[in-house]
């Protein structure tokens, strides 16, 4: 059908061949090129503006910006108030380590779990699932990928958080940390679980594309040598698809770092540093990563030092996203030598 449409179009073109083209190629290329350059310029402007606006915060704190020290929420409050009070000297002092640590923990946890699950699921979808199962799983993955983050957040707040609060936190553990933080179910574990469900579909779809692109003859060679299907697929297809695995992980990690709304809803509204040595309590301790901190303090845009702090957070997010894609690119370059071009 598409071919037919094309040939009809071609006839029409032939009939009107004498018409002078309204658009010369040169003009078209320049017009399109201008839009393309505009988009590149927009990205550059974004990077520059976000960094410039965030610079005062980095400048006043130096490297101690990244260290621990005091309550981050109190510092943010002081910064905000100093900009609101007329005549007051702006305060920039901030030690953002709790937020950075929390971003590490939540993103790292979710990406680690999601990577394992996604790898198995995509191997299953591409190779081992029976036809009917594949026909169910593919739409399921697409569906999970398209559920808006605020819906995930809502389900987290109204279902998972009460469940954790009522069933997984014992009264004694609640009492043991009562003087520092209150354990209410909003916290690390809940956030990691929901984030995993959110980013796994992204990984699965990219992993599946990579695994599907592996040459069948390579697999057949291994099968002919008597290696069973399971081993063959893991040793040959998964290894060959490594660049796709890296690409998928990078995209999913970028999404996880930037996820703001869902985490603002379920991660607990405190800039707290969860300590892995706390034992089981660790998983229910509240902690708020960088992106949700921006959302939670968005009213701070009205106050100059607070605004600069928010842009500093944003530039840290931008920087991590850029570094991630760069690291992914390096990893894929070094793999190219040993794997098929996928």
């Amino acid at each position: 059908m598409a071919t037919q449409a094309y040939s009809l179009d071609l006839e029409e073109e032939l009939l009107s061949a004498e018409e002078v083209p309204r658009w010369s190629d040169r003009r078209a290329e320049l017009t399109l090129g201008a839009r393309v350059v505009a988009v590149v310029g927009l990205l550059v402007a974004m990077v520059v503006f976000v960094f410039i606006r965030g610079w005062p915060s980095f400048q006043h704190n130096g490297l101690s910006w990244f260290t621990a020290g005091g309550s981050v929420d109190n510092q943010l409050q002081t910064i905000f108030m100093s900009g609101e009070t007329p005549g007051a000297e702006p305060v920039y002092t901030l030690h953002a380590w709790p937020l950075i640590w929390s971003t590490f923990l939540i993103t790292g946890g979710a990406v680690a779990i999601a990577f394992t699950c996604s790898l198995f699921v995509s191997v299953f979808i591409v190779e081992f699932a029976p036809e009917w199962m594949r026909n169910i799983l593919q739409p399921v993955v697409r569906l999970l990928a398209s559920v808006p983050s605020v819906v995930y957040g809502l389900i987290g707040v109204l279902v998972l958080v009460p469940f954790v609060n009522n069933h997984l936190i014992t009264e004694s553990s609640r009492a043991s940390v009562d003087h520092i933080i209150s354990l209410t179910g909003y916290g690390l574990g809940t956030a990691v679980v929901i984030l995993t469900v959110m980013i796994a579909p992204l990984m699965i779809s990219i992993f599946c594309d990579g695994l599907n692109a592996v040459r069948k003859s390579w697999l057949e060679g291994s099968l002919a040598a008597g290696v069973n299907r399971w081993r063959t697929f893991w040793k040959i297809a998964v290894r060959t698809a490594r660049p796709a695995l890296v690409a998928g992980t990078v995209i999913a990690t970028a999404r996880a770092i930037g996820e703001a709304i869902m985490l603002a809803m379920v991660s607990g509204g405190v800039g707290f540093t969860p300590n892995p040595f706390d034992g089981a309590i660790f998983f229910v301790e509240p902690s708020r990563p960088i992106a949700p901190t921006i959302v939670a303090n968005i009213d701070g845009l009205a106050s100059a030092p607070s605004k600069s702090t928010l842009f500093a957070f944003a530039s840290l997010l931008l920087f991590s996203a850029a570094m991630l894609s760069f690291a992914g690119w390096i990893a894929r370059q070094s793999m190219k030598k040993y794997t098929a071009h996928v």
């Binding site: 071609l10 290329e29 974004m46 605020v150 389900i155 399971w230 809803m265």
Partner: protein
């Protein structure tokens, strides 16, 4: 996805080593788990939706009230969602197609093409909260005061224009990659045939390549729409955390576009127990409507895919 290898006789896993069989069992477990999670989300939202969605919710505006029965419906956020979706896709679609055509058909100089590729990749990887903050920088500038409200020299910077424009950047990478894929799937001989009858490159693109790539463009547009509808961070920052429309100015359609407002995502966010309003029933109802919209878009993508596959690819 291409069709998997077809084995005439599928090897039985009974002969495998124990560890391999455990692995396969783990695959089944995870596959079923994902199905269960998706089913749980859909069924749970469906139950809550049937419980709380009333037709009058869709036709009344939100009001402030102390009980959940008195806070009105979500007509304004629903219309707001459609407005930002329209603005966002109206910017993202032409721009995305232009970038994809340039990348796939022109792409000179080579260095610029690589830069553009990484730019699109970077935009896709930029968190939407960062885009939102950048939006406040752009739209608070006095040069763009006409796109939002201005009082006493201070530009408010929050309007449907601002939110829609930044949301278009969320949809842009999806439109670009889908369109580009569609264009690259067209074999070179089609282009050559068109050049051979004396058509220019741009005429070929407009009359032959883009019509042929229409299913891909439509897929990209709908995926982009889904992302726009589901985005909350940009709405919260650039549309103001309001519930109702707050028109600015006097010319009819523009006063709404220039003013602040809300969308369904914003409404769900502020009505969740963690938000400022805390009306969980309304949040459930709005989230249900939002989910229905997104699933509808998903189904539309599937239909387009199936149709284009039925129509046959260039190689068959």
């Amino acid at each position: 996805m291409s069709t998997p290898v077809k084995y005439d006789a599928v090897e039985s896993s009974a002969a495998w080593r124990f560890s391999d069989r455990i692995g396969l069992a783990f695959c089944w477990f995870l596959g079923l788990l994902f199905c269960a999670i998706a089913a749980a989300i859909v069924i749970y939202m469906l139950v809550k939706g049937i419980q709380y969605v009333r037709p009058e919710l869709l036709t009344t505006s939100p009001t402030t009230g102390f009980t959940q029965a008195k806070t009105g419906g979500f007509l304004d956020p629903l219309i707001g969602t459609f407005i930002v979706a329209a603005i966002g896709i109206a910017i993202a679609l032409p721009l995305g197609i232009a970038i994809a055509v340039w990348l796939s058909e022109f792409g000179r100089p080579f260095a610029l093409a690589r830069v553009v590729e990484s730019t699109v990749e970077m935009i896709a990887g930029t968190p939407s909260i960062v885009l939102a903050l950048f939006g406040t920088v752009i739209f608070s500038s006095t040069a763009l005061a006409f796109l939002s409200r201005e009082s006493g020299g201070v530009v408010f910077g929050r309007s449907f224009f601002a939110a829609g424009a930044m949301l278009s950047l969320v949809a842009l990478p999806l439109v670009v990659s889908a369109t580009r894929e569609g264009l690259q799937a067209i074999p070179a001989h089609v282009r050559e045939a068109s050049y051979a009858v004396g058509k220019t490159k741009i005429a070929t693109t407009r009359r032959i390549l883009l019509p042929a790539a229409r299913p891909s463009v439509a897929t990209g547009a709908m995926l982009g729409l889904g992302r726009i509808i589901g985005d909350t961070a940009i709405i919260v920052v650039l549309l103001g955390a309001l519930q109702n429309f707050e028109p600015t100015g006097s010319v009819f359609p523009f006063d709404y576009l220039q003013g602040a407002g809300s969308t369904l995502t914003n409404y769900v966010y502020s009505n969740a127990p963690t938000g400022e309003l805390n009306n969980p029933q309304k949040a459930y109802a709005a989230a249900f409507v939002l989910l229905v919209l997104v699933l509808f878009l998903n189904a539309a993508v599937d239909v387009v895919h199936r149709r284009s596959r039925k129509a046959g690819s260039w190689n068959s």
